[in-house]
């Protein structure tokens, strides 16, 4: 008996440790990024850091073009993925008959499972030649191609989170609207969507978060030119995101060099961006939960 309680005690402790491991891991990640990246803030003058020229071989470490590249590709991806993803979520959850749902949900899961390097590969061989021909551009490796493929990466996140949110709306809401003579369409727009809005907002934020953090696809298809985008025409030119810069250059830098620290500094920025996006998304969910508890109690 004594022995069981000892092993019980040990195992309970062990489980508790694994439970807290997530906090530890996030902490260590941040500390290590800081350790390797913060020297860049001392080594590189601010005027250089916030300039428009990224050319590490000659010690130009301007991160503005990289931030601009990430922005333009992400905005482009969002402009495609948000309407398509939300419409697909609404279709699956509210309109589609059961059999169609059984086909559509696994398809979206397949898209979520496609490795980003595979999408990049398809982008190079199939999509880039198409955009070049159709838009009559000198090269198909542009921000637009990147945005198109990135939208394929954020769509599954948007669809599944938004669909969960729509599913969570009680059926009585819809029944009440329909009973009062509203059409299905009116019910979706005026009752179901507003009721699920915080979940839908979370879906959009998480989808955008995925797009900002995506690496391989954008590195392979955006043409790798760190030029500050100015205006809409930049969509049709090559660009370079923050993630792609790290992935493309980290393999060739000397450990501990200024360039190495600069790449880690970009990593810190990406970490902080994802932190903000995810905290915002989580706080929306938490707040919604609290409100629901208040209404129910």
């Amino acid at each position: 008996m004594r022995e069981t309680s000892w092993s019980e005690f040990l195992i309970t402790r062990l489980i508790k440790v694994t439970g807290y491991s997530a906090i530890l891991i996030v902490g260590i990640i941040f500390i290590f990024l800081l350790r390797e990246g913060s020297p860049a803030l001392i080594e590189i003058p601010f005027s250089t850091l916030f300039s428009v020229r990224w050319y590490p071989i000659e010690d130009y470490f301007g991160i503005l073009p990289l931030i601009g590249g990430s922005l333009i590709v992400t905005i482009g991806a969002g402009a495609i993925a948000i309407p398509l993803g939300l419409a697909t979520a609404i279709f699956i959850s509210e309109v589609a008959p059961r059999w169609a749902r059984e086909i559509l949900k696994p398809m979206v899961e397949i898209l979520a499972g496609l490795p980003s390097v595979l999408l990049g590969f398809i982008g190079i061989l199939a999509l880039a030649p198409l955009t070049r021909e159709f838009l009559n551009l000198p090269t198909g490796l542009t921000a637009l191609t990147g945005a198109l493929l990135l939208s394929a990466i954020s769509i599954p996140t948007i669809v599944s989170v938004a669909e969960d949110a729509l599913d969570a709306v009680p059926k009585t809401y819809r029944d009440a609207a329909l009973a009062m003579g509203a059409t299905k369409w009116q019910t979706i727009w005026r009752v179901t969507l507003p009721a699920a809005r915080s979940g839908v907002l979370t879906a959009v934020m998480l989808g955008i978060g995925r797009a900002i953090g995506e690496t391989m696809t954008v590195m392979m298809v955006t043409g790798n030119a760190p030029v500050l985008p100015t205006g809409l025409s930049a969509l049709f030119k090559p660009t370079r995101t923050m993630t792609a810069t790290i992935a493309a250059e980290m393999g060739e830098v000397a450990n501990g060099s200024v360039h190495y620290h600069a790449l880690f500094l970009i990593g810190i920025s990406l970490f902080l961006i994802s932190l903000v996006v995810n905290l915002a998304a989580a706080s929306v969910v938490f707040r919604q939960k609290k409100r629901a508890e208040r209404i129910l109690s």
Partner: protein, 298 residues
Amino acid sequence: MGESSTTAHKPAQLFKLADRNMVQKIGFAGLSVATFLTVLPIILVVALVILKGGPAISWEFLSEMPRDGMRAGGILPAIIGTFWLTIGTGIIAVPLGIGAAIYLAEYASDNRWTRIIRIAIINLAGIPSVVFGLFGLGLFVLFMRFGTSIIAGSLTLSIMTLPVIISTTEEALRSVPNSFRVVSVSLGGTKWQTIRRIVLPQATPGILTGVILGLERAAGETAPILFTVAAFFLPQLPSSMFDATMALPYHLFVISTQVPGMPIKIQYGTALVLLTFVLGMNIVATIIRSRARARRQW
């Protein structure tokens, strides 16, 4: 008087009803088109890779070393590398992830610390994959001196996979009805005995599904292994966990961007092998899930 007013209203109302139905029809059509646009590329990508990659697949392609600067021969080292990386990731991430999920589902009370754990997990899930690569380089490759090796890559990938395994396992544990636990405890079982003999067996299919989906993601990732394990080309297979190795996703990246004059057939063949690896795991997970649902006892 009453009669005249109804006749006056009727056409307008009818028109409005027709209008509403028209709006609904157009709206639903729009939704269907959007869904079609979402699904079509998925079908096209999968079909393209299968059709173009299929002819490249042969026993030699799967079982031989690359030759002629990877422009001929097979992709065996990349397959073996991804296999070992997936196993290594599983060995590290599965116990840790399941342990954390058991804590969250069975032990943790709803307090500040639990909320912080959840926030940490949410953040871990959102960190860009290339940042995991940077972290793996800083901690495992350089600081712990593992070098670019299978163990450094597996550790990096398992940290990335952890949130998927934790959240799916927790969901599986929570779906086991509470009455099961109450009965076990009332018969004299301790908390851990209840978890091990009652809750875990009931939740196994759900946990397995989550584990496979997590490992599927790890198997397909490139950015985290770029600086922690992946080798451009190695003439021999890895012999220990401290060796670097080739890996399928990185190999696909290399041969589609870094090697000029690469035969298209080999590129699509490699893409197909990677797709099969990943989709195969996805299908196994789906089968386990649907069979468990059909057999569920509660």
